[in-house]
């Protein structure tokens, strides 16, 4: 056997024998056999040293900040140009006195000025596999805490079931499993199951059904303490709740959308969030970045050159020009058609294929943490009313007040599932009333606790006009790779250029991809000895 025809598998075995599992893993990565799922332990960007290249970064959101952080450490001269009045993009934590720059509906956040009274109006939670976000949190010293995304003590509520009564999630889920397990038990026990099955397997399935649904020894579901006790449990024996009506349970759409929510890819418990607000990530980047950031600077023109990109922007009534060697552009793709540019037609068509997302949130200051009296601490109530969700804060337990997420909308009706921007059309006052009215169907006297609120319809926010860029399957196929890769020295970046739009991890992933591409070409140019990059 010689080195030339050694199989990859045999090679990895040899590597493993010599260097152990880590070596196999590293080597597999190098061979391209394993998908890279880890954090960028180090992007290992080549320092351009004296060549000092200038970089225009359009947009001070998570992608732009990451690119500035990494490139200035590799010797590039970066300048960040941001259209809005603030740094962070959609990473927005609202506190007392903050401005919500909604087109036509400018609001000022009226929360009390207390550290625990804040609202993450954009990203709010970080799952454990969003390793790039977590990498930068660790690197930049952003303290994280666990955030209860799921509470079995919160409610599910559906106007079409149980006369619209809120049902504790644990009760719904215990009973749903119980009844379904009973059906399984009966089917297997009476040989209604047509599958070829050994007696041993049959017995195991019956045991599984008993365990899964907490059935009695005869395979019947008569309630479970998984639903929570009706009373007792400490000084006297716990008393089970009676079971819910199976027919009503089937009418509820909770089992369709909500019941498995906390098991899905990005929402499986536990989730994390920065202590004190998501924008601590933004602040940490700003502390570690030297590159100038110009706010209120709106890009008017992007012109590609063979050896760079020319940017024209308006800052406080003065026009500025920036001839950059490279440009990283996180401007929402739907704005590009309104900016002078000389992009090739297919590149422009690709950018135009992205659809504006219409995510909206509302944060309500509650004068009392009434949910804690209902034994709810953190987590989410799911409802098929239009507000969709109520989030109870995981932090600030037992303080007097708290900020509750009072509605989370995705640009479609929760009732009909048809596209709808009704929330965007409302005035801020109407939105608070709307959230309060529907909340009343879940918590008695809910609207009476509301002191004030801020609504953030991302599709109406100045310089954003969208959140959660939409990619049709056709657009993905036709344009994703085109847009992910640079046009000349111009890179489109941001969560919009990822498979995780509206997530910070998408922005970090996009930035990482673009930086790796830049590094590759810069290394190649330098190796070619041109001296100029």
């Amino acid at each position: 056997m010689n080195a030339r025809n050694i199989s990859r598998r045999r090679f990895l075995e040899l590597v493993g024998a010599a260097g152990g599992a880590t070596a196999v893993y590293q080597t597999s990565l190098a061979l391209g056999l394993m998908e890279e799922t880890g954090a960028p332990a180090s992007l290992n960007l080549l320092n351009v040293g004296k060549a000092r290249k200038s970089v225009a970064i359009l947009g001070a959101g998570m992608a732009g900040l990451t690119i500035a952080y990494e490139l200035e450490r590799a010797g590039y001269d970066c300048r960040i140009i941001e259209a809005s009045h603030r740094i962070g993009g959609r990473n927005l934590t609202l506190r007392s006195g903050d401005i919500v720059d909604e087109m036509g509906n400018k609001q000022v956040c009226q929360f009390d000025d207390e550290p625990h009274l804040y609202f993450n109006a954009g990203p709010a939670r970080i799952p454990g596999h969003h390793r790039r976000v977590l990498h930068y949190c660790k690197l930049l010293g952003v303290d994280l805490e666990i955030m209860a995304n799921d509470s079995r003590r919160a409610y599910t509520q559906d106007p079409d079931a149980f006369d619209g009564r809120p049902i504790q999630k644990r009760e719904f889920m215990a009973d749903a499993r119980g009844f379904m397990s009973e059906l399984l038990y009966k089917a297997v026990n009476t040989s209604a199951f047509d599958a070829p099955m050994s007696d041993e397997d049959r017995a195991r399935i019956l045991e599984f059904a008993v365990a899964f649904g907490d059935l009695d020894p005869n395979g019947l579901y008569k309630g479970s303490n998984r639903a929570g006790y009706a009373s007792g449990g400490f000084l006297k024996a716990g008393e089970l709740k009676g079971t819910l009506d199976f027919s009503e349970l089937l009418k509820s759409s909770f089992w369709r959308y909500g019941m498995h929510f906390a098991e899905t890819e990005d929402w499986a418990a536990p989730l994390m969030t920065p202590v004190g607000g998501m924008d601590n990530i933004v602040k940490a980047f700003v502390r570690h970045i030297r590159s100038p950031i110009t706010l209120n600077a709106q890009v008017q023109s992007i012109q590609l050159r063979n050896d760079g990109v020319d940017i024209v922007y308006n800052h406080k009534g003065r026009q500025h020009k920036f001839a950059a060697d490279y440009c990283f552009n996180s401007i929402p793709a739907h704005f590009i058609d309104g900016i002078h540019n000389n992009f090739p037609a297919d590149y422009a068509s690709g950018l135009a294929s992205l659809e504006r997302g219409h995510l909206s949130k509302i944060g309500l200051q509650m004068k009392e943490r009434f949910w804690e009296k209902e034994e709810i601490y953190g987590g989410i109530t799911s409802t098929t009313q239009e507000i969709g969700e109520i989030w109870y804060p995981s932090h600030g337990i037992f303080k007097q007040k708290g900020i509750v997420l009072g509605a989370y909308l995705f640009g479609f009706s929760r009732r009909t599932r048809a596209p709808s921007n009704f929330f965007e059309k409302m005035t801020p006052e109407e939105r608070i009333r709307f959230a309060g009215d529907q909340g009343n169907n879940i918590h008695k006297g809910y609207s009476g606790y509301i002191e004030n609120g801020v609504s953030i319809p991302w599709g109406r926010m100045n310089h954003m006009m969208g959140c959660g860029a939409g990619w049709s399957d056709e657009a993905r196929t036709q344009y994703f790779s085109r847009l992910q890769n640079p046009e000349g020295r111009h890179y489109m970046v941001g969560d919009q250029i990822s498979y995780h739009t509206s997530w910070q991890e998408g922005a970090f992933a996009s930035a990482e991809y673009a930086l790796q591409d830049l590094d590759k070409r810069v290394r190649a140019d330098m190796a070619a000895g041109a001296g100029t990059v």
Binding site: N105, Q300, Q303, K316, Q319, A333, F335, H340, A352, R356
Partner: protein, 208 residues
């Protein structure tokens, strides 16, 4: 007067790269360019029409129409609904200032983006010419705006809106009502595309 001359200073065109001329919007109208684009050239992705090239009297009339609810109130007119609060925030004096800004900008002629049979559109256009002029250059005395500077996709959208009573549905909106009636003369979407295709050819004639 001092106020006006200051405004004129602010909106003088400034030379840019690559033969681009970009007008700096007055600070208070920067937000207009968020959707309508640099130099108000329009943005199809937001369905924001081109304003550069629009007559001042027509701009003012439309801002007032949005403000009073003649436009931007029909539930299916999503871009109109988005525009309405923006117009509602403007005072009468600010509307005048806005028309000055619009008058100061220019942008390259809009590209043709739709299909359509211009020859068939030519005969359909005859009934339009009465108000919009034989070359679609517009006629202030009759209230018909020029059409050649507008994005063709926007003309298509608006013709459909008129035909479907999404625009021009308010009784007091005399011009809108007239146009709504006129749009009924266009039988189907194909005829709308044809007549807009013809209007695009008039744009090319003007360029030549």
């Amino acid at each position: 007067m001092k106020h006006i001359s200051l405004l004129v200073c602010l909106i003088l065109p400034t030379a840019a790269f690559a033969d681009e001329v970009v007008v700096i919007p007055p600070q208070k109208f920067v937000y207009c360019t968020v959707c309508h684009g640099a130099d108000l050239k329009g943005n199809r992705n937001i369905e924001a029409p081109r304003l550069s090239g629009m007559e001042s009297w027509y701009v003012a009339r439309q801002l007032e129409a949005f403000s009073t609810g003649w436009r931007g109130t029909h539930e299916t007119d999503l871009p109109g609904i988005e525009m309405r609060p923006m117009a509602g925030a403007l005072s009468a004096a600010e509307i005048v200032e806005a028309t000055r800004y619009v008058a100061a900008v220019s942008s390259p002629p809009p590209p043709s983006t739709i299909g359509g049979d211009a020859a068939r559109g030519a005969s359909l256009y005859q009934s339009c010419a009465a108000c919009h002029g034989p070359r679609a250059e517009g006629d202030e005395s009759l209230g018909g705006p020029g059409l050649t500077t507008q994005n063709d996709w926007y003309l298509v959208t608006q013709l459909k809106n008129y035909r479907n009573n999404v625009r021009g549905h308010v009784a007091e909106d005399t011009y809108g009502q007239q146009m709504r009636a006129a749009a009924q003369l266009l039988g189907d979407d194909t005829e709308i595309l044809d007549v807009v295709a013809y209007i695009s050819t008039l744009k090319q004639v003007q360029e030549n």
